[in-house]
Symmetry: C2
Subunit: 271 residues, 2 copies
């Protein structure tokens, strides 16, 4: 399939014939962040938020209709399903009478899990935590749809809240999700391991903050391949052994050895 990155936006003249109405299904982090972003747009109206728990719907109730009864679902141009991956197939039953476009927001679920005539995906590639605000205009939104008009509609919606809307296939999206796990979930676990070391040595974890920020900032100037430094890259086995013997947790020792091996392999040492 053809892929256009960061280009469509400038090529397509977005013509709004009116408001785009949206119904949100779900009340979690993604639903809340999307809702907040949509609230800032003049061309998107979130008509209703549906969820199983009235308590979780509290967040939205002063700004739009809420309901925990799926029989009361309103008519809208687009239905955005922002619920856990495992539950996405439940909407096939719940929304069976809906003719509008129905999209999910998951990184790892195929578009084919939605059994409707008009389906799509609207995946924000970012780590979204409750209570932690982000600039949504910088969040890449990966869109996919079964037909061109729906893709165009998703592009319009995406462009209302973000500067980075990309057409991405289900296969590409799953790969991006793996990449996101590496650079977010796994990186954060390395931070956690470092935090344990600092606690043990009674050194404040904040001492590592400049290094952590610089490591992430560097990728805008250098590829990670070029930016790599450290004992594994220069095959400094003496330092690596000293480091491994300092780590207490056997799993953490294994992680140190395995990533070091992978770095050495990347820079040419035969396994």
């Amino acid at each position: 399939m053809a892929v256009n990155f960061f280009t469509k936006q400038s090529l397509i003249k977005v013509v709004f014939l009116g408001m785009i109405s949206v119904v949100l299904l779900g009340t979690g982090n993604v639903a809340q962040h999307l809702f907040d972003a949509f609230e800032k747009s003049k061309h998107i109206q979130v008509k209703q938020v549906l969820g199983r728990s009235l308590k979780a719907l509290d967040y939205f109730k002063e700004h739009t209709e809420i309901s925990d009864n799926f029989d009361t679902i309103l008519t809208a141009d687009v239905y955005i399903v922002a619920i856990s991956d495992d539950a996405i197939n439940t909407v096939n039953q719940l929304l069976k009478n809906i003719d509008s476009l129905i999209v999910h927001t998951s990184g790892s679920v195929s578009i084919d899990q939605l059994n409707f005539k008009r389906t799509g995906v609207f995946y924000p590639l970012q780590t979204l935590s409750k209570g932690h605000r982000i600039n949504f205009r910088e969040v890449p939104i990966c869109i996919e749809a079964k037909n061109g008009e729906d893709l165009e509609l998703l592009h319009q919606i995406g462009s209302e809240i973000s500067n980075k809307v990309l057409e991405v296939s289900s296969e590409q999206r799953l790969s991006l999700h793996v990449a996101a796990v590496l650079v977010n979930n796994f990186t954060n676990h390395l931070y956690h391991m470092a935090n344990l070391i600092c606690n043990e040595q009674k050194v404040p974890f904040s001492i590592l903050e400049p290094l952590i920020l610089e490591t992430s900032a560097k990728i805008s100037e250098l590829s990670p391949y070029e930016a790599q430094t450290g004992p594994a890259k220069r095959s400094d086995n003496k330092t690596m052994q000293a480091h491994i013997s300092l780590l207490q947790n056997p799993l953490h020792k294994e992680i140190y050895e395995l990533i070091s091996t992978s770095i050495k392999h990347t820079y040419g040492e035969k396994l």
Copy 2:
């Protein structure tokens, strides 16, 4: 030993009786960044830079004395040895006639590797790349010395170039070096793995940049333990299996499995 973090600076009234003179040994990244930082200070004079290669000394020659002959070494208050870890013990011979304070800049070498009467450590905890400028005032500098007066002298020098000068023992420093490898070297390797995935899927790596920056920025608000998300944390084995089957490199598959196991273990799942 007593440890004071971020406090000494405000407690000690720094009294300069004059310039502090410094001779730098080494011409690599650390030497260059330290030199540039010292150049901005009115109270530190780098009298000379010594190195084995005249070509590498080029960087300094317009601003100070340079020499590749250790017999021409000048007298100074402090000698800062910024050379590779393996070579640090060679200075025991080269500087044997020096009575001033001699310090190295390594994260992983003990203070006891320097066989002089007055020794110390001056370790900047940051990733320093040639040609990539950083704000040195934000770089934590870990200092250590055998006697109190020398520690005070290192504190004065450190405070001239950084807002964060910390007294850190050799044991603490080695632990911090392990932590630095985790959050810098290993994190960068995860970025590299993600970059390979993007290349394969013909998706620009820059799409991950907002996620990478947000992951590192989050630690100022949340501990890594609190910030953790993702399939491993919620023991979503289906997604993890889909991810592992997408990774091509056997080492990368192993890394995915091992870090996921460690995350699951962190959040209570028995091994």
